[in-house]
Amino acid sequence: MALPISIILAVFISYVAFFIKKRMSFLLNSILFMLMVVATRNYITIMSLQLKNIETTKDQFLFLFLLIHREIIIPLLVLIFCNLYLLSKGWRKKLGVSILILGTLQAMDVLSIYFKVEKFLKWNILSDLIINIGYMVIGLGLSKLLLFLSKREGKKHERSL
């Protein structure tokens, strides 16, 4: 049950990521996506292998759930958040987008606990909430940096013409 659910969710989230109006170009979004994947991989590996705060599944099928969660769902949700946040005008819309994405990230974590993909050893759902907020803040910071660099490159290109 876990694997089909994660695939269904990944497909729908991919659709949303593909069709939403984006603030950033494909190049910037792809860089953001790859960097967020690197962040989630490091987080999960350090937490499970080094700190032993969480235990990840040893089951081969459930591990695919973890891979989809780590490599597709979390980074795409952060990517959706950054694009929508940067496009939103007014704090109410920004807050709404933040709560919606944070809630989805948190629900995905609850789902991975429910399906025994992850087991908290010295960890809890509140600490996970902080990590998810961290992903969103890092994503937003990276987006702003990428937009700044892209703008600077555009100006340089204009000057060279």
């Binding site: 170009s25 494909f26 190049l27 910037l28 792809s30 860089i31 790859m34 960097l35 994947v37 690197v38 991989r41 490091n42 590996t45 350090i46 292998l49 080094q50 990840t56 599944t57 040893k58 089951d59 081969q60 591990f63 891979l67 490599e71 990428l146 660099l149 892209s150 490159e153 290109h157």
Partner: protein, 165 residues
């Protein structure tokens, strides 16, 4: 259980450091044919894809190999993933420079996969990779072919989307 292969700072660590310095200098000194962000994207792709395989098939439940001195995740492991970055950059750098087209994609990808295999063999001999569960080096060939093909597609998508802007 944490498996420790060795504890000394030797060939495998030096391979990572020397490779990073030489490739970093080469990127800096060679004529630039990409914009900063395009160059970064291909560098990050190399790092991203190398890390994907290492964090997928070298961890439990599959756990086919370990990187560096022990099965634990160390700082040197992270540096060895960054080491893949310049290879991703140069793969697409020469692809653009020599203007690979049509069926020439096949020899280009084969040459790079052979080179990657050679680097992996060197890494294995120097203690960077420790194979487990009967993992054979030739199993990496489809991984390289796939990773490089995806990078070529990625390059063309970037090119077409930036041309349409």
């Amino acid at each position: 259980m944490n498996v420790v292969y060795e504890k000394s700072f030797d060939a495998n660590e030096w391979m990572v450091i020397i490779s990073l310095i030489i490739c970093g200098l080469a990127i800096w000194l060679m004529p630039k044919i990409f914009t900063l962000l395009e160059g970064c994207a291909h560098f990050i792709y190399g790092f991203f894809i190398g890390m994907f395989y290492d964090h997928t098939i070298s961890v439990k439940p599959w756990d086919y190999y370990d990187v560096n001195d022990s099965s634990a995740y160390q700082f040197m492991d992270f540096l060895s993933y960054i080491m893949y970055g310049p290879y991703g950059y140069f793969f697409i750098y020469f692809y653009k420079k020599i203007n690979v087209k049509g069926f020439w994609h096949i020899p280009y990808v084969i040459i790079w996969s052979t080179f990657s295999l050679l680097m992996e063999w060197m890494g294995h001999k120097l203690g960077l990779f420790h194979y487990e569960k009967g993992y054979k080096m030739h199993w990496s060939i489809p991984i390289y072919l796939l990773a490089q093909t995806i990078q070529i597609i990625y390059y063309h998508i970037i090119k077409s989307t930036s041309a349409s802007v």
